[in-house]
């Protein structure tokens, strides 16, 4: 029986970091490990795809928690 693969629903927004403002606190990667990992220098590598609906609340929390105000949710 054929199975359809459902992609999880996404919001119309993408998470981006202002690399000039970012000083590598790393709080974001703790709060949103599904979308953010830290590179070998402590700076965030962010999944460039639109934010899944299921992660929207955690994403907003990570954006609010950044001590440098470096994270932004932008319309994709």
């Amino acid at each position: 029986m054929a199975q359809t693969r459902m992609t999880p629903p996404v919001t119309g927004e993408t998470l981006r970091v202002n690399p000039i403002a970012c000083t590598g606190h790393g709080v974001c990667a703790e709060l949103l490990p599904e979308l953010i990992t830290l590179d070998e220098w402590g700076y965030p590598v962010i999944d460039p795809r639109p934010v899944p609906v299921a992660l929207e609340r955690d994403t907003r929390r990570a954006v609010a928690a950044c001590p440098a105000l470096a994270l932004k949710l932008m319309r994709s």
Binding site: N18, A21, T23, G24, H25, G26, V27, E30, L31, V63, A64, A65, P67, A68, L69, A70
Partner: protein
């Protein structure tokens, strides 16, 4: 409620507020320095800093209200935010009002910091370095409590902790590599660590 109960409550909440604000300032510096609280994740430092600041505001509210409600001396409610508007202890309560005004600016901007210009938010947040010493002066001057005995030692202890944290912060600022020299610093650091690592040459 008997008036002296209000008065005691005001003094007690004042003391707790001083302790909370000391912790908030130190935690704020810790956040800036990307420091950790042992055993806790990084977001704990930012969260506790924020939560304690809101707790401090709550205690300040009680501190002010109980002082106003107490009828032994007349302290108008507005003197909590309008400096030097109180007949009683005009100077010391005035300092408290100034400190509270600065805190309110910091709290309000922090509540909407996602919508605020990043540089503006930070500039206002730096008012903390003015707000704490003014609050400290208010604490020492506005009642005899902290001028003797254990509470005096406690107050001195808070001042020493804040001084140490501020010195730590300033020392880091002094050591910071200026932007135009950063690339050279990374080069130097990388070259040094490369020299230390084992040198196995590709020779085939």
């Amino acid at each position: 409620m008997s008036t002296s109960a209000f008065w005691y409550a005001s003094r007690a909440t004042g003391i707790v507020t001083l302790l909370l604000l000391t912790a908030v300032l130190v935690l704020g510096i810790l956040v800036n320095r990307q420091g950790r609280l042992p055993g806790l994740p990084r977001f704990a430092v930012t969260d506790i800093h924020r939560n304690l600041s809101l707790l401090a505001v709550t205690f300040i509210a009680i501190h002010v209200l109980t002082a106003v409600l107490d009828t032994y001396v007349h302290i108008p409610l507005l003197s909590a935010v309008i400096p030097f508007a109180s007949g009683y202890e005009r100077l010391w309560l005035g300092l408290g009002a100034i400190s509270l005004d600065l805190m309110l600016a910091m709290i309000v901007t922090s509540l909407v910091r996602g919508r605020l210009n990043r540089v503006l938010w930070r500039a206002i947040h730096l008012l903390a370095y003015a707000s704490w010493p003014i609050a400290f002066a208010h604490s020492i001057g506005s009642s005899k409590d902290l001028q003797q005995g254990w509470l005096l030692y406690m107050a001195i202890g808070c001042a020493l902790i804040v001084a140490a944290a501020v010195i730590w912060r300033l020392a880091h600022a002094a050591r910071q590599v200026p932007r135009a020299a950063r690339v050279a610093a990374v080069f130097a650091q990388h070259t040094a660590s490369a020299a230390r690592s084992s040198r196995r040459t590709v020779t085939r």
